[in-house]
Amino acid sequence: MQVLKSYFTRYGRGAMIALAVIVCAGFLVRAWVVVNPLADPGDDALAYRALAEALYVDGTFGYEKGSSGGPEFKTPSDWSPGAPLIYAGAY
């Protein structure tokens, strides 16, 4: 609370409210895209989606051979680990 107060004093109420509005708008735009995904996303987006789905469904980084969740993901280590974790949160 003390930290928040010091930020309000330092930057002013208007600046902090503007910042909060920007952050909320950014979150809403992203949430909207999660609910209304692109019809034909790029190749990388599909790979990240497949990794995120596998994390959510099977708890693995990419569907493994024989998984009923989806087709085997051949080279999961080619992709960054953090992004699929974040996207899995959207599920």
């Binding site: 790029g42 190749d43 599909l46 080619d78 992709w79 680990p81």
Partner: protein, 307 residues
């Protein structure tokens, strides 16, 4: 993350009235940015290199605090960064038997990025690759369907998939592609250094001036994107004059992103984690432009004394 990072660089060393609490808080000041850098690298692996550059710049900025404390601070940041990425590094070691910090995608992006015929556009080289490997074209529809995508052709990374097996059989794909990429650059350096320089310059410009095509495909979108980047450049210049420590930190970040974009695939995604900072710099740039314009108008309207 960046604001905390900058705040720590600017802050005076904490008082030593209460040594134990101060020591803990001081350590936290360095551990937190280190951990945040590690988290950023987990999302965009190229930021691992940039993080090391940032830690180096940070220690140089804070050098007036003394050699020992600065070394300890840099070490703490490095430890925090490593703590975040080590579990994944261990998993990679288990799976591949090699020390791969975050992902094996670097070889592919180095290979694709070193294809000089593409003139810096990673998709520009695809027609040539597909013409040389017609069986790739036959494989695409099935691959796309398996991934849940449409009939569009593949990205360059998937196009490079058969290359390692053909040119370096038995070598792991990412290592083979990285070696071929390095060879491409070294050959270009020997045969046409000026051309290579122009290629790097074109790629560097590409990551800054060309945004995402679906957002900046129109003239209006492109103009908007370019004005944001131009405003950020003005803001960065302003920082150089007025807030030198912040300037060096942000400049190191921008330079790191640019070098990585120039050497690897020049994708606008390289700047993704940097956009909050770009947005702040743009605000500074526009604010400066607005003030200059307002002052110019005020000066013009001011009555001129007549002798």
């Amino acid at each position: 993350m960046f604001t905390h990072f900058i705040e720590v660089a600017r802050r005076r060393p904490r008082s030593t009235l209460f040594p134990s609490t101060t020591l803990f808080r001081s350590a936290l000041d360095w551990l937190l940015p280190g951990a945040l850098l590690g988290l950023t690298a987990m999302v965009r692996p190229e930021y691992l290199l940039i993080s090391l550059v940032l830690i180096g710049v940070m220690t140089v900025i804070c050098r007036s605090r003394g050699f020992g404390p600065v070394l300890a601070s840099g070490g703490l940041m490095l430890v925090a960064l490593l703590l975040v990425i080590t579990p994944w590094m261990t998993r990679n070691l288990d799976q591949s038997g090699r020390l791969v910090p975050l992902s094996t995608g670097g070889g592919q992006t180095l290979f694709t990025g070193s294809y000089l015929a593409s003139a810096g556009d990673p998709l520009g080289g695809m027609p040539g690759v597909l013409a040389h490997h017609p069986r790739l074209c036959r494989r695409h529809p099935a691959q796309n369907a398996a991934r849940g995508g449409g009939p569009r052709p593949v990205n360059p990374e998937r196009g490079s998939a058969p290359v390692p097996a053909e040119r370096m059989p038995g070598v792991p794909a990412d290592l083979a592609l990285a070696r071929i990429g390095r060879e491409n650059y070294l050959r270009a350096l020997r045969e046409d250094p000026a051309g290579l320089l122009g290629y790097f310059a074109g790629k560097s410009a590409r990551i800054w001036w060309r945004g995402r095509t679906d957002l900046t495909g129109t003239a209006a979108g492109r103009a908007f994107h370019m004005s944001l980047v131009a405003g950020a450049l003005v803001g960065l210049l302003l920082l150089a004059f007025r807030r030198r420590p912040e300037f060096w930190l942000i400049f190191a970040l921008a330079a790191g992103v640019t070098v990585i974009g120039a050497v690897f695939v020049a994708s606008p995604r390289r700047t993704l984690a940097f956009w909050p900072v770009i947005a702040c710099l743009t605000g500074l740039g526009f604010s400066l432009a607005f003030r200059l314009a307002r002052d110019a108008v005020a000066n013009r309207l001011r009555p001129v004394p007549i002798a």
